[in-house]
């Protein structure tokens, strides 16, 4: 019998350790840079689905797809009176409306008195508000929460989706996307 041949020579000896180190690095990466929780709509770049919602507030008409394909870009704001960030973005929506942006609203799972109180308190920047009582339109456009704001071009194509409340810093981007959509 000869002396046993070393099972692995040179660098292959370190291969398991290297693989383990790679695995640890991967886990550490995942821990320190967790994936975002936002679920973007896959319908960005595609036409809005057909829908028609009854009015959600007295004095404002309801909202249908046809209202969002009228030759000029508009904002479609998915919101609710029971949603706290929706109140936080109200000043920014007011600012956009004051700048001449047309904002159409979809009120998700909202009761008329609640919505009326919300609009009275935080302002009403909307041209129309549709009542989405069972999140039907929200699901149909791939929105995963409130508030979300979609830039819709004049042909009714979704051009941009903003997830979460619009902060003061987001306003220029929204305006830029609206300009892009009008070209």
């Amino acid at each position: 019998m000869t002396a046993p041949v070393p099972r692995s020579a040179g660098w292959t000896r370190w291969l398991p350790l290297a693989l383990f180190a790679l695995f640890v690095a991967l886990v550490a990466w995942g821990l320190y840079f967790p994936a975002g929780k936002d679920v973007p709509s896959r319908l960005v770049g595609q036409p809005l689905p057909e829908f028609s919602l009854p009015p959600a507030a007295d004095g404002k008409p309801g909202l249908a797809r046809a209202d969002l394909a009228v030759g000029r870009p508009k904002l479609l704001n998915v919101f609710a009176s029971w949603c706290i960030p929706c109140a936080a973005e109200a000043p920014q929506l007011a600012q956009l409306a004051a700048a001449g942006v047309e904002i159409e609203g979809v009120a998700v799972r909202d009761q008329k008195p609640d919505l009326a109180a919300f609009l009275a308190r935080y302002g009403n920047p909307y041209s129309r508000i549709g009542a989405d009582e069972r999140s039907t339109v929200q699901l149909a456009i791939g929105s995963s929460g409130v508030p979300e704001t979609f830039v819709i071009d004049g042909k009714g194509v979704i051009r941009h989706q903003h997830i979460g409340d619009i902060t003061a810093d987001d306003v220029p981007e929204i305006l830029a996307k609206l300009r892009e959509a009008s070209q």
Binding site: V5, A80, W82, C83, I84, R134, A140, I141, G142, S144
Partner: protein, 139 residues
């Protein structure tokens, strides 16, 4: 004693009061109600258990009490009752939310390594074992 207990309960309730706002809308008709036809209900259940709740992202819509999950359950039951196939509804949802909404992974250009890795590892293990046994055989 009773008073103390009541006070304790009051404190507990105050602590467990929801931090996030919830709507006051009653749940959609089929959010918490099964379909009358057990076969259709079973179809709906199977689908709902593999659709992710977008509000509570680690739960399926079958497990979640989020209002949006309830609305989606109701919609799925209504669509299945109307004759739609569960996989057609899954496709409809994936078109809107991407593969993320489905708990049943598909083989795509992005996910194929997940399916290929076990096969590759098995193959590698087989080769290694053969090498090792081959060596001890000749030694």
């Amino acid at each position: 004693m009773m008073r103390l207990l009541l006070a304790l309960f009051a404190v507990l309730f105050a602590l467990t009061a929801p931090l996030a706002a919830e709507d006051t809308m009653p749940p959609a008709p089929y959010a918490y109600r099964q379909l009358d036809d057990p076969a259709l209900e079973a179809k709906a259940q199977t689908l709902m258990q593999t659709i992710r709740c977008l509000t509570c992202q680690s739960q399926s819509i079958a497990d979640s009490d989020a209002s949006m999950a309830g609305d989606l359950r109701s919609q799925i039951r209504e669509r299945i009752a109307a004759g739609e196939q569960p996989e057609a509804i899954r496709t409809w949802l994936v078109q809107r939310y991407g593969d993320y909404i489905s708990y049943t992974p598909r083989v795509t250009s992005l996910t194929w390594p997940l399916f290929a890795a076990p096969l590759a590892i098995l193959l590698m293990a087989g080769l290694l074992l053969r090498k090792r046994f081959g060596r001890s055989g000749t030694a």
